[in-house]
Subunit: 398 residues, 2 copies
Amino acid sequence: MPRISHKAVRMPASPIRKLVPFAEEAKRKGIHVYHLNIGQPDIQTPEPALNAIRHFDQKVVEYSHSAGMESFRKKLAAYYQGLGANITHNDILVTTGGSEAILFALMACVNPGEEIIIPEPFYTNYNGFAIEAGVKIVSVTSTIENGFALPPVEEIEKKITSKTRGIMICNPNNPTGYLYTREELEKLRDIVKEHDLFLFADEVYREFCYDGREHFSVLHLEDIEENVVLLDSVSKRYSSCGSRIGMLVTRNKAVYESALKFGQARLSPPTFGQVAAEASLETPQSYFDGVYSEYVARRDYLVEALNKIEGVFSPKPGGAFYTIARLPVDDADTFAQWLLSDFSYKGTTVMVAPAAGFYATPGLGKDEVRIAYVLNVEDLKHAVACLEEALKVYHNNI
Amino acid sequence: MPRISHKAVRMPASPIRKLVPFAEEAKRKGIHVYHLNIGQPDIQTPEPALNAIRHFDQKVVEYSHSAGMESFRKKLAAYYQGLGANITHNDILVTTGGSEAILFALMACVNPGEEIIIPEPFYTNYNGFAIEAGVKIVSVTSTIENGFALPPVEEIEKKITSKTRGIMICNPNNPTGYLYTREELEKLRDIVKEHDLFLFADEVYREFCYDGREHFSVLHLEDIEENVVLLDSVSKRYSSCGSRIGMLVTRNKAVYESALKFGQARLSPPTFGQVAAEASLETPQSYFDGVYSEYVARRDYLVEALNKIEGVFSPKPGGAFYTIARLPVDDADTFAQWLLSDFSYKGTTVMVAPAAGFYATPGLGKDEVRIAYVLNVEDLKHAVACLEEALKVYHNNI
């Protein structure tokens, strides 16, 4: 039997996946599991998107252009222009989810064996795409004490070697919920410019910024227009994860043409998803206002409630719909599994994502978990009560 | 400005893409272009698929399981069982088109720098996926004189080195339309078994086999169950190219688990496409009978008409909806461009795919073109008449 590849061996299993069988077993025992572990929002997909799908009237489900439907790209350009960014439809490549945008960006810009710097903790799937592209991730640590702010410039510059080709950020951040400030982005601009690096920015949570703060996009950074590669998606903005529609946006023509060649190899992004996503751009502001209020209420409740539990600390995230909480446990991995396999409270338990998997540096984040506030406040109340009880029981048992 | 990657530099542009501006210019001049250059069928997508999309009733367009929806995979398993193959839903990974199945297979099974052997001419996008995965394609030549049959075993074995990890075939073949016989597949089985290689088989045209011949799938090969990785798609079978739904099918558990990890990194295949594809499996046999008769009529007309043109030779393909024709020209690339830029007949012209791009060996296929019979017979008649006239004019002019 032939061997699998080294890449396959090195591909990490998701840190959440190994908990899945325990969650399934809990459900089989009749226990209700509050899923705080995933980035699948419970928010309804906007009606214009669903309507467009229900009225799909083509007789043949054809490939689209490899860069995506032109009508869609023109509307996307108008969307970015509305953010104050000087973007045309020729700067936009529609991808199969933000995932493919990340993979294309790495493959187009970074040679196998070369490095990109990412503040940790970071979205675990960056590891997967880096392995696929043969790229090495070099982490620079952000800390829960600082609310996961950008690490000091000196710390970032220390990591730059002759192999460094770029810096990647996620803003607002998954898994921390941290919203980078304009000043932080300008610091990154200076580093990127000085060292002639790419700045890869995953802004799929752009619309989820709270407390009246505005999102400052990498598209607004001056003087590094050709260094910036934006990775975007409709998944979170329009609660359309399953549509698998993302975008790679760049004003660097060489990068764009390269990414398009990868796009041509896979022929086209999904047609149905593009039809839904194009219609999503007609979503009324009232939808976003409703979503905004809902997430602010959830965050406000969740973070306050978490911090009231003895020994628990969570910074107040400025964006996205995640927070990282430090728990009074030695090993959040063991605790998360125990929650599913050995605990229940009033017939319920909680599933959280152990945070160690979001760090590249071994040993970091062992007492932290990522909590996604993708449940309504009522459910969050039950979930937090359950978590509080669990921590008491856990301490008495070990 | 930072450089792009070596992979990006090496990614080939599609051999057809450079003709596109000339086709657009011809259309601007009011010339009707018969598109014989693409694999986008004009056949209608089955009604059950379109109906399922029009009745999509989920409120949130969620991610599916990374391996694909279980209900869909179970129906797919039944489909493969119907072909006589011992396949369960746990052997099936739903991918974003056959394209992603190819990429996952290469990344899961072949290390960067290692080799796979492919009979040329072959589907050009294999080059793109091989570059993405860092895999080297070693070609073994099949010839138009032999109707593009499998090259002799000795020729294949000559290409096997310590770096060879697999053999890839496309059956029925794109671009040649050749349908491999059971004997040919058994020869491949013996080679694969002896040298402990993977056998990657792209069978997306499985349903398109003519003259009463049955398709013999690699899934039927005994004794190499763990060597076989099947790459499949609903794109051609159900004329649903834009759905972007394919499958990687393997009974090799290590390969399956590896491919699933790549699948988890990109979260899920498209939800809408899966809904349509699952419903497609309910398509009545009458649909396929209609499609079959249509393609047989097209092929029979096309190949006979081509062979009547002086100096033109096309073997009669046993499957798919392509044929490769040898034309009495020095350079089919130049001719194909000339057809679009300098010729018209009764206000029409023809776009074909120069075949050199399907060969890995430089210089091969220079006087050949791939013709896709994705137009109805009436249109094919006009297109062939146009091609015949073009060849006369071309010869008088040069």
